[in-house]
Symmetry: C2
Subunit: 411 residues, 2 copies
Amino acid sequence: MKNELYFNINEVVDATDKLVKEKDTIGYYDLPNQDITYIKNYLKKFDNKDIETIVIIGIGGSSLGIQAIYDFLRYDENLTKRMVFLDSTDPLFLKEMLESFNLVKAHFMIISKSGNTIETISIYKYVYQKLCSLNLDLKEYFTFITDEGSNLQKYANNEGFNVVNIQANIGGRFSVLSSVGLIPLALAGIDVKEILSGANEVKKEFFNNGEINQTLQKKASFMASHFDKHPNNCIFAYSERLKYFVSWYVQLWGESLGKKQTNSQLNVGLTPIGLIGPKDQHSFLQLIEDGPRDKSITFIKVNDFVSDLKVPDIKMKFLEGLDNINNLEFETIINMQADSIVESLLYKSDIPVDIIEIDHINERSIGKLIYYYELLTSLVGEFLGVNTYNQPGVEAGKKILKTKLQNILKD
Amino acid sequence: MKNELYFNINEVVDATDKLVKEKDTIGYYDLPNQDITYIKNYLKKFDNKDIETIVIIGIGGSSLGIQAIYDFLRYDENLTKRMVFLDSTDPLFLKEMLESFNLVKAHFMIISKSGNTIETISIYKYVYQKLCSLNLDLKEYFTFITDEGSNLQKYANNEGFNVVNIQANIGGRFSVLSSVGLIPLALAGIDVKEILSGANEVKKEFFNNGEINQTLQKKASFMASHFDKHPNNCIFAYSERLKYFVSWYVQLWGESLGKKQTNSQLNVGLTPIGLIGPKDQHSFLQLIEDGPRDKSITFIKVNDFVSDLKVPDIKMKFLEGLDNINNLEFETIINMQADSIVESLLYKSDIPVDIIEIDHINERSIGKLIYYYELLTSLVGEFLGVNTYNQPGVEAGKKILKTKLQNILKD
């Protein structure tokens, strides 16, 4: 993984110590070198089970990260099970999803830190009833991943269901490398050790003041100190496999940094925008090129797709103007497209650009990307002066919903 | 369809006349009442053909609108064929997509206004060779949708392939109601007459100065005059079926409005952000609630999902706190969630909010939504003082790519 910054920042305050200090209360930092015995023990229970589909019943931090990794690795040779994500109360979506796999050969993971998530519990109740009506042994079908001591754990223990606890002090959007992500991914066949190993490489390089430390501090300083000039950050990822990774990033970035500043109570934050190339060259690019200079752009490129798919050498009458693509590999084309857009933006000089390159589409790369973005978020939050790890703003809507639900009961 | 605005705009300059004047050079206005004989004639050719999959080879304006409608109506009883979209040069994506359907029972639509789109032609060449290797009669497998007189038309005519022209003066991102969208959707079994009829209802109401005229003018005036205070507009749609509609909106909005102002050469524009509820309540919402006040939010709600899916009446020990969702229909829950978030934002008073309600998920609704957003875009473009219909900013990247391709040939 390489990250080149095409912007200048003069003064960088080193915040590594601040991150080190947080380790007592913020659990995600130490996940890359966690003991994974609990995963091995969990997998043993399923040694002889014929599972086709793993169904994630969770929303936000309890599904986005899992989906990001699953989708990135979906053609991995180790992947033996399909995953389905039930992350909406949309009735048409739920019906469609539940008809898309064989319930009898599924395993359901109910993931909720608090156990009070309305989407998760309502979908769980629906699935619970459906499995009851099929006279299945429910103990075989459910795993609950939740905080130690939550009501969801109490419920699941009381019913005799599988429970895996989330490590201490892990916020939802920083939980993908905890049991929340690793348990379902490991059951699907993914080599989670490799994911952690990639993350750990970034961790060591950062905390040992390696190159990535300097890069991340510079990038975070720049983004935080220019938050009023460039309040939006776009990730422009040139791989369809990063589609859900950018959704994960949108949550991580938006929910961590969109806050009242701790001291001033000022509304600050950086708005995340996820783009996929080359598709969004035909959509969002015009706005980047000619619109307001309120965006910084982070390109993500895959150096080697390990594919030999190429444009055949066919000349076509009247289409001779495009004969120069003949014989080119598609991976050459997509990366040339990315390079061309980068060049067009650098030429403009008032649009901050940086480029992240990953070598391959594999477990190590996604582990690195995830940990890189988590560190970046912590640093930007530190420099912006916000509490990176809470989400007080979403409480108002929840309270109103609660009142509406109570009023319905009264009627 | 209803649209309620929760913000005040004092002065509204009526721009209806400006839009009427554009009709000579901007073709999309009159698409809702087009003569659809050409579609009926086209369909006749396929009367006895056994087609399972329609494959769209197109990108940007040549795929986003089709995908928006297809995905919205994907469980429509009329829909008899699956659609697949080949809209990336990502080699892994192309391989995966091409393995996901039976080539022999597919029909390929190559859609490009100019015929010079590098993604479209490179994918077409690849598919062409694949079909050749299967010894199929290619004339049965391809339809080309392109501008009259384009090189792509000349090529297709020369080979004896099906060609359908795009109506005059239709830009890519305003083309979904032209042959670009209607031909593939009609072949898939969608009732395109109903889509046009929905669009025509909005058209008539707007140009006859009905209620929607006032609403659209107010909304456009507000958004244009506040473009520096609220440079971002989010659509927060509470239906998974609108996932691709919001992608279509991102292109329409971003590419139409992100421009140098015609008179001042100032970089202006409004940044579109597509959100899906309730999922994004667990992701982007915190940023809206507590972050900078640089966003206006348009909610889209479906009044009736025509679904009786409900939460079963099961009490669960330790989870009694959520018993009040028992017996509720999921469509009640999702709409209560939307209402709760709207209420939480209105309470803040410094975040502009408006709500669009559609009655059902059907052809008429999507026709209305599309035409509503096209008119809104034209109005905002008018008020912002930009050329809504060009995209000069994307040329720089294309030129650089062209040079790179020429250099490769020289090597």
